[in-house]
C-alpha cells in the first residue's frame, strides 16, 4: 500500500483488521471487507493474467461476476486448489493464496506472449483451416494446442470440503437485494407472504448502497442513507428469509430455481474446516421477482484491453465502497451519464480526473453540469482511438468523431493517464428471465433487450427491467410489485426523489480508429481474445446467424459467458449485415448464471451416499462370516464365503460341492415378493405369465415366465397359490420394482375391471433357502412338527408353519436341482432363523453359499438367469422353453409378438449347452461361437452366456445362445479367443440329473 491508494474514511472496509494474503508468491495485505481484486488494486497490482490466445497482459476490469480477465488460481493445495476464480468475487481471507493462470514462467514475463506477434496469422477459427498436413500429425498439433489452452489447473486430489442441498418452498422469491429488491421484499413480507430475498454479495443494498451524490436523493436524504434505513426495517419480519452470498444459478420452468450459498469461501483458511462450503438451494417459488440490476457495457476501440482499463462504474465502486483508488490520474470515456457519477466520486475522494471523453455532441443533464462545475475537462464528440502501455495503460489517444460517427477526424490528442474508465451504457441482466423461457423485446432508444412475455408467475423490476433512472426505478418497482403480488403497499407513495436524468443518448458499437480496421485490436470478448475484426471475418465468410458467429469466433463462450461481449457482438453483426438489432435475436443464455461448483450440484451425494445400499436382514451375519459381496442393483448380496486363504474359485468349488453332497444355505431375501389378492388373481396371472394358472391347486407353486409385449423374456420366478384368491409371486432381485410397476400399469390402465390388489412384501420377508440331500433332515430339526414327507409336502408346494411361534411360509422349490426348501419369515426373525438353520445343519456340514455358487448350481441344471442368459432378444422358444407357453390361453403379455415373421423363424439364436473338448478348459463368459475361422468375415453364431467349472461333474460346463442351436446338438463348434481356439461340442442345457431324481432325494 506504498502508493497510498487507500482512502481512510470508509464505511464498508474495516481498516482495523488487516489480512495477509499471497499473490504469485508475494505476501500482501488487505482489509476485512475487501475482495481479492480490491486488495490487489490497493497494492497497485493491475496485471493479473494473460489472455487465452494472444497471451496479452490483462488487468482487473470490473468489480463483479462479469469479470473476464482477473480469473485466478486460488490455493496451492492439490486437493483444495480452485481454478478460474474471479478476483472480483472472492472475499479476502487470512491465508488466501492466489496465482495468475495461463502464463509461463510468470505473468510479468510470459513466453506465450509471442502469440501476439503471430496474431495476424491466427484470426478467428484459423484452426479449421490448417493443421491438416500431414494427415497423421493432428495428434501432435493437438498436444501443443491443448497444452497452451485451458486456464487454471484442476485439483489432483479429492476435495476435502462438504457440500449440501436444501429444498425451499416459498410464496415469493426475490432475486437481488438492490433498491428494487429491498422494496419488493418489504412489500411481500408486510403482506404476510412467505418471502425469500437472496443476493450474491455479502451485504444488501446493491449499488445504491454507496450512492452518496447530490444528484440522487430520496426524501431529502442521499439515496444510500434512505436505503440503509429501509434495509434495517427488514429485520422485523419473521416471514422474510434473507440469504446473502447466495447466487441464483439457474431458473428453470415451473419456478424451480437453484441458488448457491457460499458459506465458508470468505472465512480464514483455518476456519473453513468441517463446515459446509457451499449449499445449493433448490427453490420452488409460487412467485418470482427478478431484481438483478444491470451491467455496465464496455466500449469497443483499438487496444481497449490493457491493464488499467476498467468499467467506469467499477472505478466508482472501488473508490466509494472499497476505498481504493484504481489510479492517480484517471481518464474516463463514455457514451452516457454514468461516467460522470464516477468523476464526481473520484473528485470527492481527491483523485484527479484528467478528462471525460464523451462521444455525444454535448449534453446538459444535472450531473454533467456538476462535473463541468468541478472544472473537469470534457472532450465532446470525441473518442479514445487507441491506448498505450504494455503492462499498464499510460496514455490514451483522443480524436474527434465525424458527424456520422464512423471516422476519427482532426488532431490526435495524447493524454497521459494510469487508469481509464469506460462506459458504454447499461445492459439489463435478463439472463435469469431468459433461462426461465421468457421472451425478450428490444428497446431501440438505448439498445437494450428487456423482459417481455413469460409463461411463469414472475416479474422483473428495476434496472433489469430497463429502468435506469432512480425515480423510475422506485416508482415502477413499487407499482409492478403491488400489482404482481396483488397487494397495496403505500409505504413508497409520495416519495420525493431528486435524480439526474440522462437527456442525450448515442451509441457506436465499434468506435472508429485512424488505422485500417485490420491493424487494430478492438476486443469484444476479452477472455477468449476475440475482436470486432473476428466478427467481421465470420460474416464475410458467410456465417450469418448469431449462433454461427459466436461459435466460429468463440465470442461469448469464455467463463464469463459473454456477459460483457454479447451486446456488442450483436450490434456489430447487425450493423455489418444491415439488419435491425431487434430482429437478429439473441443467443440463448444457458444456466448457470455464473459457473457452479460440481460439488455444490452433487451435495452430500458422494462416497457412502453416492447410491443407496440395500441390505438383507441377514447381512450382518454374512459380514461376520467374511463373505465377499456382489452388487446386484442396489443390493449387497453375499457372493461367496472364502475360508482362510481360499480364492474365489476355491470357495465356490467347495460351496458347490457341499450343497450337492450334503447341504447348503443361501440368503434369498433379495428376491422380489409381491402379495397378490383378489377374485381375479388367477386370471391376472394368466395374462401376465406365459403359462396357465387357473388350475394351480391351492398350496402349490409354479414357475412362471414373464414377457415384454415384444415377446422377449423379461423376468421369471416362482409363484405360490396361498389360497383361492391369494398368491405370492417372486421376481428376480433386479426385476422386483419393474415387475410390480409393470403389473400395476396393466391393472390400472388396461384391465381396471380385474379385482386384483398387488402389494410389495419384499422387505417384509427374509428368505432362507436350504438345499441338498440333507435339507429335509435339517428342516425337520428347525420345524419339528411339520410333516416333510414327499406325499404331504411334495416338490413345488408350500406349507404354513411356526418357528418358535413365529409364523412362516415354507416353500419346497428348487433353483439348484437339489431337494430344497425356502423359509419365508418376517424379516425381524430372518437372521435368527438363518442361525437356527446353521445350528441345525452343523452335523451335516451345512455350508453357506453365495450368488456365485447359486449361479453354478443352477447352470448344472440348465436353469436360466434372466438378464444373464437372456438379453432382451430371447423368446421362451429361443430358450427351448416351449413347454411354458400355454397353447390354450387366448392372450398374455407378449404373445402376439411371438408370431411375427422374424420371431417364428426356426433358426434364431437358441439356448444350448456347451462342453469343451478339454474338460479343464473354462470358457469365458461373453466369448463368441463360430463354426469356422478360415473364412472371412468370420460369422459369429452366438456367444457364451454362463460358464463354470462344475466340481460335481468334474468338468467345465457352459450355457450359450447359438444360431439354430436346437438343431446343432452334438455338433462341433469353435470359440475363438485372442490367442487360441477352443473346441466345443453343442449339448443339451441340462448337465446334471436330467431325470430330476435329486429333487426327491
Amino acid at each position: 500500500m506504498s502508493k497510498n491508494l487507500r482512502i481512510t474514511n470508509n464505511n464498508f472496509i474495516d481498516q482495523t483488521s488487516r489480512i495477509s494474503f499471497k499473490f504469485d508468491g508475494k505476501t500482501l495485505y488487505g482489509f476485512k471487507g475487501d475482495t481479492l481484486a480490491s486488495a490487489l488494486l490497493a497494492n497497485n497490482i493491475h496485471l493479473v493474467g494473460r489472455s487465452f490466445k494472444y497471451h496479452r497482459p490483462r488487468g482487473i476490469m470490473t468489480c463483479g461476476s462479469e469479470e473476464p480477465n482477473a480469473i485466478l488460481q486460488i490455493g496451492n493445495d492439490s486437493s483444495m486448489t480452485e481454478p478460474n476464480t474471479r478476483a472480483t468475487e472472492i472475499e479476502l481471507y487470512e491465508g488466501l493464496e492466489a496465482s495468475s493462470q495461463n502464463c509461463w514462467p510468470s505473468v510479468n514475463f510470459d513466453i506465450g506472449a509471442i502469440n501476439n506477434f503471430f496474431s495476424p496469422l491466427i484470426p478467428a477459427a484459423f484452426y479449421y483451416k490448417t493443421f491438416m498436413w500431414p494427415a497423421n500429425f493432428w495428434k501432435l498439433y493437438e498436444y501443443f494446442i491443448r497444452k497452451s489452452a485451458g486456464l487454471g489447473r484442476s485439483p489432483t486430489e479429492p476435495d476435502k470440503d462438504i457440500y449440501d442441498h436444501r429444498y425451499l418452498h416459498c410464496d415469493v422469491l426475490i432475486v437481488g437485494g438492490g433498491i428494487s429488491g429491498i422494496m419488493a421484499a418489504k412489500t411481500a413480507a408486510k403482506n404476510n407472504l412467505n418471502t425469500v430475498l437472496i443476493d450474491d454479495k455479502n451485504i444488501l443494498g446493491g449499488t445504491t448502497l454507496f450512492q452518496q451524490n447530490e444528484c440522487f436523493k430520496i426524501n431529502n436524504s442521499y439515496s444510500n442513507e434512505w436505503l440503509k434505513k429501509e434495509i434495517e426495517t427488514l429485520n422485523s419480519f419473521n416471514n422474510l428469509t434473507i440469504k446473502t452470498r447466495t447466487t441464483l444459478a439457474a431458473y428453470h420452468s415451473y419456478n424451480y430455481l437453484l441458488a448457491r450459498e457460499n458459506l465458508t469461501d470468505h472465512l480464514d483458511l483455518k476456519d473453513k474446516k468441517d463446515k459446509i462450503r457451499q449449499r445449493l438451494w433448490k427453490i420452488r417459488a409460487k412467485k418470482v421477482i427478478i431484481a438483478t440490476g444491470a451491467m455496465e457495457r464496455p466500449l469497443i476501440f483499438d487496444n481497449n484491453d490493457r491493464p488499467g482499463i476498467f468499467l467506469s462504474s467499477s472505478i466508482k465502486k472501488y473508490i466509494d465502497f472499497y476505498g481504493v483508488k484504481c489510479g492517480q490520474k484517471i481518464s474516463l470515456f463514455t457514451n452516457n451519464d454514468s461516467a460522470y457519477e464516477t468523476a464526481i466520486s473520484l473528485n470527492n475522494r481527491g483523485v484527479s480526473v484528467n478528462s471525460v471523453v464523451d462521444i455525444r455532441d454535448k449534453t446538459n443533464s444535472l450531473i454533467v453540469k456538476q462535473v463541468e462545475k468541478l472544472g473537469i475537462k470534457i472532450h465532446w464528440k470525441s473518442s479514445v482511438i487507441n491506448t498505450n502501455g504494455y503492462k499498464k495503460i499510460n496514455c490514451i489517444e483522443i480524436m474527434k468523431l465525424s458527424d456520422d460517427g464512423t471516422a476519427a477526424v482532426g488532431k490526435k490528442i495524447n493524454e497521459e493517464c494510469d487508469c481509464l474508465g469506460i462506459s458504454g451504457g447499461w445492459t439489463p441482466r435478463v439472463h435469469l428471465f431468459t433461462q426461465s423461457g421468457g421472451k425478450l423485446k428490444f428497446r431501440d432508444e438505448d439498445n437494450v433487450f428487456l423482459p417481455d412475455k413469460s409463461e411463469l408467475s414472475q416479474i422483473s423490476i428495476g434496472s433489469c427491467n430497463g429502468d435506469f433512472e432512480l425515480d423510475e426505478v422506485v416508482k415502477n418497482s413499487v407499482n409492478l410489485t403491488n400489482k404482481f403480488l396483488n397487494v397495496n403497499n403505500n409505504d413508497y407513495e409520495n416519495l420525493e426523489i431528486i435524480a439526474s436524468k440522462e437527456i442525450d443518448k448515442k451509441n457506436i458499437w465499434l468506435l472508429p480508429s485512424d488505422k485500417p480496421l485490420g491493424k487494430t485490436k478492438p476486443f469484444l470478448d476479452f477472455q477468449n481474445d476475440s475482436t470486432a475484426n473476428d466478427i467481421k471475418l465470420a460474416l464475410r465468410e458467410g456465417f450469418k446467424s448469431i449462433e454461427h458467429v459466436k461459435r466460429y469466433t468463440t465470442t461469448g463462450m469464455a467463463t464469463d459467458q459473454g456477459k460483457l461481449s454479447n451486446m456488442h457482438a450483436l450490434g456489430i453483426i447487425a450493423e455489418t449485415a444491415g439488419v435491425k438489432m431487434g430482429e437478429l435475436g439473441t443467443t440463448t443464455f444457458r444456466p448457470p448464471y455464473t459457473p457452479l461448483t460440481f460439488g455444490a450440484i452433487v451435495g452430500r451425494n458422494v462416497g457412502e451416499f453416492f447410491d443407496i445400499t440395500r441390505k438383507t436382514p441377514i447381512h450382518d451375519w454374512h459380514v461376520k462370516n467374511k463373505a465377499e459381496f456382489e452388487n446386484v442393483g442396489q443390493w449387497k448380496r453375499a457372493w461367496y464365503y472364502p475360508r482362510s486363504n481360499e480364492n474365489m474359485h476355491e470357495a465356490v468349488q467347495r460351496e458347490s460341492k457341499a450343497a450337492r453332497d450334503s447341504a447348503g444355505i443361501l440368503d434369498a431375501s433379495t428376491l422380489g415378493k409381491i402379495d397378490i389378492q383378489g377374485t381375479d388373481a388367477s386370471e391376472f396371472l394368466n395374462r401376465v405369465y406365459t403359462n396357465a394358472w387357473s388350475k394351480l391347486e391351492i398350496g402349490k407353486c409354479r414357475y412362471g415366465l414373464m414377457l415384454n409385449e415384444d415377446g422377449m423374456v423379461y423376468d421369471d420366478g416362482v409363484t405360490t397359490r396361498l389360497s383361492e384368491n391369494h398368491y405370492l409371486m417372486t421376481t428376480t432381485t433386479g426385476g422386483a420394482a419393474n415387475v410390480l410397476s409393470k403389473m400395476e400399469d396393466y391393472l390400472q390402465t388396461e384391465w381396471p375391471e380385474l379385482d386384483v390388489y398387488l402389494t410389495s412384501v419384499t422387505d417384509h420377508y427374509a428368505t432362507v433357502s436350504i438345499c441338498g440331500p440333507n435339507s429335509k433332515k435339517i428342516l425337520s430339526k428347525v420345524i419339528p412338527n411339520l410333516d416333510l414327507s414327499d406325499k404331504k409336502f411334495p416338490h413345488m408346494s408350500f406349507k404354513n408353519a411356526l418357528i418358535d411361534n413365529i409364523k412362516c411360509r415354507v416353500m419346497r422349490i428348487s433353483f439348484t436341482g437339489e431337494h430344497s426348501y425356502e423359509i419365508n419369515i418376517q424379516s425381524s426373525y430372518g437372521k435368527s432363523t438363518w442361525e437356527k438353520c446353521i445350528d441345525a445343519g452343523k452335523e451335516f456340514n451345512i455350508t453357506p453359499y453365495g450368488t456365485e455358487t447359486m449361479h453354478l448350481l443352477r447352470a448344472e441344471k440348465g436353469f436360466i438367469i434372466a438378464g444373464q442368459d437372456t438379453d432382451g432378444t430371447m423368446t421362451p422358444v429361443d430358450l427351448q422353453m416351449d413347454w411354458i407357453i400355454s397353447k390354450k390361453k387366448y392372450d398374455f403379455i407378449g404373445k402376439r409378438s411371438l408370431y411375427r415373421s422374424d420371431t417364428i423363424r426356426e433358426d434364431r439364436k437358441q439356448l444350448v449347452g456347451l462342453l469343451t473338448d478339454d474338460p479343464k478348459e473354462i470358457l469365458e463368459e461373453g466369448a463368441q461361437i463360430v463354426s469356422e475361422t478360415n473364412k472371412q468375415p468370420i460369422e459369429m453364431l452366438g456367444h457364451v452366456t454362463s460358464s463354470y467349472f462344475s466340481p460335481n461333474l468334474n468338468k467345465s460346463i457352459a450355457l450359450a445362445v447359438l444360431k439354430n442351436g436346437k438343431k446343432l446338438k452334438g455338433q462341433k463348434m469353435i470359440v475363438p479367443m485372442k490367442d487360441k481356439k477352443i473346441n466345443v461340442t453343442v449339448t443339451d442345457t441340462i448337465f446334471l440329473d436330467k431325470e430330476n431324481k435329486r429333487l426327491n432325494a
Binding site: S253, Y254, D710, S741, D745, Q748, D891, S897
Partner: protein, 91 residues
C-alpha cells in the same frame, strides 16, 4: 423440474413421478386377429407430437396411481391432468 398436480395427492415435484409415454393407445383386445403391421402399430409406432400431447404418468413415489396428462411438448406446459378412465378434456 415440473410441478405436477397428481389427481389424487395434489401438487408434487417431478421427481416423485415417472413418465409413461403417449396415452390412449389401448392394448388390442384380440391381438391374434391383428396383422404383423397392425401389431407393430400398437407396439412401436408413436405420434411423438410436438405440441399438445396426451400422455401417461405414474405417481411412482407417491400413491402409485397412473393418470393422464395434457402437456404441450413444445414448451412443457401442463394443461390438465385427469384420472385413468376419465374422458380427456377437449382441446
Amino acid at each position: 423440474m415440473f410441478l405436477i398436480n397428481c389427481p389424487y395427492c395434489g401438487e408434487r415435484d417431478q421427481s416423485e413421478f415417472s413418465a409413461g409415454g403417449e396415452a390412449h393407445i389401448e392394448r388390442p383386445k384380440q391381438p391374434t386377429e391383428l396383422s404383423d403391421d397392425q401389431w407393430a402399430e400398437f407396439l412401436f409406432m408413436r405420434k411423438n407430437i410436438k405440441g399438445i400431447q396426451y400422455e401417461r404418468w405414474n405417481h411412482t413415489h407417491g400413491c402409485r396411481k397412473w393418470f393422464n396428462m395434457v402437456r404441450d411438448t413444445s414448451n412443457d406446459k401442463i394443461h390438465a391432468v385427469y384420472k385413468m378412465g376419465e374422458k380427456p378434456p377437449v382441446k
